[in-house]
């Protein structure tokens, strides 16, 4: 399973890409493979304030609905509208065009709580 080295990860299978004041968030290759075909994504509202581990999006596959959590405290500044007509992007490009939202983070130190690629690889075995 693909786990890029330059991303951070959560216990709940989100990936986090640090981009200056922001983080871009999606779900990992492992998560999309477990979920199976994604058929619907409920995106958070722009400007929504979120706490770490707060459920702010939903990814639905043919089989089940799964909450997607804010990895750290922040404000939603961008959402991936391309997922509305084409939720399968999450399956095809989980680390690329399948990103879900961008958070403006309050405190870059919060990112220290997250897992690095090796720790996440260990988690998914």
């Amino acid at each position: 399973m693909n786990v890029p080295d330059d991303f951070l990860y959560t216990e709940t299978h989100e990936w986090i890409k640090h981009e200056g004041d922001n983080v871009r968030v999606g779900i990992t290759d492992h998560a999309q493979s477990e979920l199976t075909d994604v058929v619907y994504v409920e995106l958070p509202k722009i400007d929504r304030q979120a706490n770490a581990q707060e459920a702010i999006a939903v990814v639905e596959s043919v089989k089940a609905a799964s909450d997607i959590y804010a990895p750290v405290k922040g404000k939603v500044v961008e959402v991936n509208k391309a997922l509305e007509p084409d939720p399968g992007l999450i399956n095809r490009e989980p680390y690329g065009q399948g990103w879900i939202f961008v958070l403006r983070i309050d405190n870059a130190d919060d990112l220290k709580q997250l897992k690095d690629a090796n720790a996440y690889r260990k988690q998914i075995g």
Partner: protein, 368 residues
């Protein structure tokens, strides 16, 4: 109890299937993608492991008469080699199981039942048999662990059937079952399925399962045959509005509420559940199972979502998905009978928000 493995379990692993527990068994939910497998069945063919399903043999002189007191459909209509869809009901008319019964010979019947219900069905039948003194000669045998089975479904079934069994062998007619030689062994082939496509279900000795599966995959490959999992099986059956036991059929729901009265013969003098069904028929069912289709593109409806009409709660979703054929949200729900009108606008509540839907005719997917 730890979940059981079918004789094809290692083949599923070898093919990279994602395995889930289902009805007490470890089953493949998908090999590559539910949507791809679904489309393979609609456009070419798919092969499903159905070894988890139960096989009960009932045999003896008065079997036909006795089974007619246990099942809703009329066993007298079955000639040797024919099968019918039927229900096993409790005294309240609620569904214990839905199953297919085949008449194997004059005095022998095969019941193909849902995996999760096999032991309960067997116990229920055995308990009632013991109570009938005139039925002492009847034997019920649970052969589930002796048999494996596959369903092969899809528009290319005729070519596939001939590739497997020979050019001059005839496909059995709809709902019929025949024994056919296959590579030095005998298998039973029934023309039935759970997908809405033409197809067969093949039952063989558990020891022959791996051989049959691999020959079928090899011969089917040029025809587009794909191994298909429970995920596709569920979306395929839901597009056809075939009920799933445990979701759409339950011990407190009867076949009339489920819109399946066609498989109940109320002219039979007695069978378990008949009085309750007569009452439902006379008073009209309180709720009815209806198919529906979402009005807009949106999240998939799922079991237990509440259903409203003009703000009034009228029922609950029992099955739902994004239909891969329609690329649209569809489902089935039990709603108040007075509101169960084709074309009626309803709302499905999903995570606290109402999404409009329309009550439809069966089936939800019609082949063009």
């Amino acid at each position: 109890m730890s979940p059981k493995k079918t004789p094809l379990y290692n083949e599923h692993l070898r093919l990279g299937a994602k395995i889930v527990p289902f009805g007490g068994w470890l089953m493949p939910v998908q090999y590559t993608s539910i949507v791809e497998e679904h489309q393979a069945v609609r456009n070419a063919a798919g092969i499903f492991d159905i070894s988890h399903m139960g096989q009960l043999i009932v045999e003896g002189n008065s079997t036909r008469q006795w089974l007619n007191t246990m099942l809703t459909n009329n066993v007298d209509k079955l000639r040797v080699g024919a099968g019918q869809y039927t229900f096993l009901l409790n005294e309240r008319g609620g569904v214990i199981d839905d199953l297919i019964i085949y008449r194997i010979d004059e005095l022998t019947f095969l019941l193909v039942v849902n995996a999760a219900r096999t032991d309960d069905d067997f116990a229920w039948l055995q308990k009632h048999l013991t109570a009938v003194s005139s039925a002492r000669d009847i034997r019920i045998i649970n052969r589930s662990s002796d048999f494996g089975g596959v369903a092969i479904q899809g528009p290319r079934i005729t070519e596939l059937f001939h590739a497997l069994f020979g050019k001059d062998v005839h496909l059995p007619p709809r709902n019929a079952i025949v024994d056919l030689p296959f590579d030095g062994t005998n298998v039973s082939v029934a023309r039935t399925g759970y997908t809405g496509e033409d197809g067969i279900e093949v039952f063989f000795r558990a020891n022959d399962a791996v051989k049959f599966w691999n020959v079928a995959l090899k011969k089917g490959k040029p025809l587009g045959l794909k191994p298909s999992g429970l995920g596709a099986r569920d979306t395929l059956r839901l597009e056809m509005c075939y009920p799933l036991n445990g979701s759409d059929l339950l011990p407190d729901r009867n076949p009339i509420e489920a819109g399946l009265g066609f498989f109940v013969d109320l002219r039979k003098p007695n069978f378990i559940g008949r009085d309750a069904l007569l009452q439902t028929k006379e008073n009209g069912p309180r709720q009815k199972l209806v198919p529906f289709r979402m009005k807009e593109k949106g999240p998939p409806p799922r079991p237990h979502y509440p259903v409203f009409e003009n703000g009034d709660p009228i029922g609950e979703v029992t099955s739902g998905t994004i239909s891969p054929s329609l690329n649209w949200g569809v489902g089935m729900a039990y709603v108040s009978a007075s509101r169960a009108k084709i074309g009626a606008q309803i709302d499905i509540e999903i995570r606290g928000k109402k999404f409009p839907a329309i009550i439809e005719n069966k089936p939800l997917y019609k082949k063009s």
